[in-house]
């Protein structure tokens, strides 16, 4: 039996004005377990807390009930008092007789009556309280960054800078991501390679950072502080530590008609390839689907020309298992497919291209060495039409577009238009827009410069259809301001395709038990106050995996994610919340209902041997809760048909005791 002390607070006149505190403490004196009951002007004051401590000592109290303000206000205070008096902090219950009684009721009789009932409920609960100790778990001081684009790079550099080891997993043969494909960057027009490649080199040279390129995360287990991650390092058939990146193999490879992914298929690469000159790691990779040697054992030229002896046709996928304290998701984005937008003739004409293809077309390291020419005939285009919002803000066409604004298109289209006019003053450049959205430092000024200084023709209206005719593209569009339908003969059309999260994000979210929205963007723990954390503890978000972002925004979020990771990794131990679910192995059926409703993936199952009364043993599947992952919502307790799942601090019998006390 508990020895309970009841402490009724007057809160000056806040409570005492409507509740007869003397009557309350008198009435509660005779409740089961109560050995001491008193009231005082300000329970939360120094003197009030001393009174509690003294009573605990003098009356050997094992539980405390404070009838006072909301537990949201002073539960923490009184828990500290309990600890100071030598009690477990979870042996304290609060009866909220201020916010939920004296302040909302005017009648003293009714208020007093209710306060007594609320006190009884708290006493009934505290009688069933047990001391709780928060679990502690160690923190592995290493972080994993999934994705090696600018988001992943920046996060990794910042974490490494604080002295923690970081592994970066990138599924392509090189880090760099989408930014490596870009030409210039708005609004300052510095070249992407000039600002990105030094960072890539920093990553490569940082002794705290390991790069797993051409690799994928295949399994994640564990929880915050201790994620056990399996990484598959795909065979690239080149020894990474031996290859010097000289490129002799690439030059001699006879298979040279493989569409080059890095240039979005606008030119070809060899079966053995280095994606681009500044690739990190600068190591060749053999495409197993294209290489003759790997397909049918004939060729082997690359092996012969490699002075370093780096080629290894027998290389196998490598499985790496590592433990991490924190995981940062930086899986990035892709432009959506334009195949389904029949009206824009993307599949019919080579001269209808996406903006990312335009980037490669104008990039000095691109397929045309930066010469802006038509992909179809290599001729210089005179009339260019840029179409914005292709697939963005598309509500009716879920099967081909996206409902959201892709955010970056307005600015890069202004950039493309401006650069075209700058380099080729003989061109006519039209931009068809729905709205021009340019919030951001120096962004609107940039867009206005395109119009005012460079003579880009911005037309308010959408393009309705594009029909290839001869060597022209017949563009039919609206000019809503002039209230005219325009018919243009264009040489090149550039579509500002909506962007979507990378397809690897969805399976990764499942592995991480991190939640996603309907568009497959990762959800943040709080949209305003915790924007770089996922609801799953220890998983952080960086870059466009969380939503469309431009480079400055991505870099700032990457830094923010890094600082959250650092904040976690500096801790030696994590202290949990002891109010977590607990499974009773004896009554658990192992039916998985609880696992299905757990938002955190905190429940797993194990086959456990039980000794039966007849001395036989029986192996049963039973649930086990990871207290470091459980957040204590209690969804599992109701899903459990056998009542085997319960929640510390809010046990079934405690809540029912409260119900009984209130309804008695």
């Amino acid at each position: 039996m508990q020895r309970v002390g009841v402490f009724v607070c007057w809160c000056g006149s806040n409570i005492a004005g409507t509740v007869d505190v003397q009557a309350v403490s008198e009435a509660l004196k005779n409740e089961p377990g109560v050995v001491f009951s008193a009231n005082y002007q300000y329970m939360c004051s120094q003197a009030g807390q001393e009174m509690i401590k003294t009573a605990v000592k003098e009356h050997h109290l094992t539980g405390i009930v404070v009838c006072s303000c909301s537990p949201r206000m002073h539960e923490a205070t009184f828990r500290k008092t309990a600890v100071a008096a030598g009690l477990n902090p979870y042996m304290v219950e609060i009866a909220n007789i201020r916010e939920q009684c004296s302040w909302v009721h005017k009648d003293v009789t009714a208020g007093t009556e209710k306060a007594i009932i609320l006190g009884k409920a708290a006493i009934a609960k505290v009688n069933l309280n047990t001391p709780l100790t928060p679990g502690e778990s160690p923190v592995t001081k290493r972080a994993l960054v999934i994705g090696g684009g600018i988001a992943g790079i920046q996060t990794a550099l910042d974490i490494a800078d604080a002295g923690f080891p970081v592994d970066v997993v990138e599924k392509q043969p090189t880090i760099g991501g989408k930014m490596a494909q870009l030409d210039k960057t708005f609004p300052t027009l510095d070249c992407a390679a000039c600002i990105l490649t030094p960072k890539m080199v920093d990553v490569a040279q940082n002794d705290k950072i390991r790069i797993f390129s051409y690799s994928e995360v295949t399994d994640v287990r564990g929880f915050v502080g201790n994620f056990d991650v399996t990484i598959k390092k795909k065979a690239r058939f080149v020894k990474e530590d031996v290859c010097t990146g000289c490129g002799a193999c690439v030059e001699k490879c006879p298979m040279k008609k493989i569409p080059n992914e890095f240039n979005l298929g606008m030119d070809n690469r060899h079966a053995i390839y280095i994606p681009f000159a500044q690739a990190v790691p600068k190591v060749a990779t053999i495409d197993p689907d294209a290489c003759n040697m790997l397909k049918n054992g004939k060729c082997g030229i690359c092996s012969k020309v490699c002075a370093a002896g780096a080629i290894d046709y027998k290389q196998k996928d490598e499985i790496i298992e590592e433990t991490y304290g924190a995981i940062v998701v930086a899986t990035g984005f892709n432009p959506i497919s334009m195949e389904k937008f029949d009206e824009y003739a993307y599949s019919q004409s080579k001269d209808v291209i996406t903006s990312l293809e335009f980037e490669r077309l104008t990039n000095a390291a691109g397929p045309t060495a930066g010469m802006l020419v038509r992909p179809s005939d290599g001729k210089h285009p005179h009339t260019l039409v840029f179409v914005q919002c292709v697939g963005s803000r598309c509500e009716s066409c879920a099967e081909k577009g996206k409902e959201y604004c892709s955010k970056i298109c307005c600015m890069y289209t202004a950039k493309h238009a401006m650069l075209t006019r700058d380099k080729y003053p003989d061109t006519e450049v039209y931009v068809f827009y729905v709205d021009v959205r340019t919030p951001g430092k120096n962004f609107d000024e940039f867009y206005r410069r395109a119009v005012e200084e460079y003579g880009v023709k911005y037309v308010k209206g959408m393009v309705g259809k594009i029909v290839p005719e001869g060597d022209k593209l017949k563009v039919q569009a609206s000019d809503l301001i002039a209230n005219k339908q325009l018919h243009l003969d264009a040489d090149l059309v550039v579509l500002a395709a909506a962007i979507e999260p990378d397809h690897s994000a969805r399976p990764l979210a499942t592995m991480l038990t991190a939640s996603m929205d309907t568009n497959d963007f990762f959800t943040e723990a709080h949209p305003k106050l915790r924007p770089v954390e996922s609801p799953t503890a220890g998983v952080f978000l960086s870059g466009t995996c969380q939503g469309p972002k431009d480079i400055p925004e991505t870099v700032s979020q990457a830094g923010a994610a890094a600082s959250k990771v650092i904040g976690l990794l500096v801790k030696d131990k994590l202290t949990g919340n002891p109010c977590v679910a607990i499974a009773n192995e004896l009554t658990c059926n192992g039916c998985s209902s609880c696992e299905r409703v757990c938002p955190y993936g905190a429940i797993s199952y194990l086959d456990k041997e039980f000794r039966m009364p007849d001395r036989t043993t029986k192996i049963r599947r039973v649930a086990s809760v990871n207290p470091a992952v459980c957040q204590g919502c209690g969804a599992c307790t109701v899903a459990c048909p056998s009542g085997a799942m319960d929640l510390n601090g809010f046990m079934n019998n405690q809540i029912m005791a409260e119900v009984d006390a209130i309804c008695k």
Partner: protein, 129 residues
């Protein structure tokens, strides 16, 4: 400024279109093959119905220039369906005149082997109700 709220409500109900969804991109008008024939263009139908300015539409020849090809319905990124708005305004005009311009019996008389069936269907849709 809402001119004729009752009529507006009726047209919205008849067409089943939510004009508030329109983001004023003009893709409907950009895609319209009858654009140059029309005094008021598809996006204007949506916009004018939205603000209740419907009388000018009712008296405009544009009503009968719409081919009901539904290209605008197909292309609209917001699912607004301008052709259905045009259709509803047209219906309103026809109802006011109190008669159908075409009955099923008229169809065989104008039926020619090389008439595209789609034309007949859309003409029938346009001039009946």
């Amino acid at each position: 400024m809402k001119h004729n709220n009752d009529l507006r409500e009726e047209i919205l109900r008849m067409s089943g279109v939510d004009t508030a969804k329109c983001m004023k991109c003009g893709k409907c008008s950009a895609t319209c093959p009858a654009y140059d024939e029309m005094e008021y263009h598809p996006h204007q139908f949506v916009g004018m119905v939205e603000i209740g300015e419907i009388e000018p539409l009712l008296s405009s020849e544009s009503l009968y220039k719409c081919l009901s090809c539904f290209a605008c319905v197909d292309r609209c990124p917001r699912g607004v369906a301008p052709a259905k708005v045009v259709e509803a305004v047209r219906l309103t005009a026809i109802r006011r005149q109190g008669a159908n311009h075409m009955t099923a019996n008229d169809v065989p008389l104008i039926l020619e082997t090389d008439t595209p069936p789609q034309l007949l269907v859309s003409a029938f849709r346009k001039y009946t109700k």
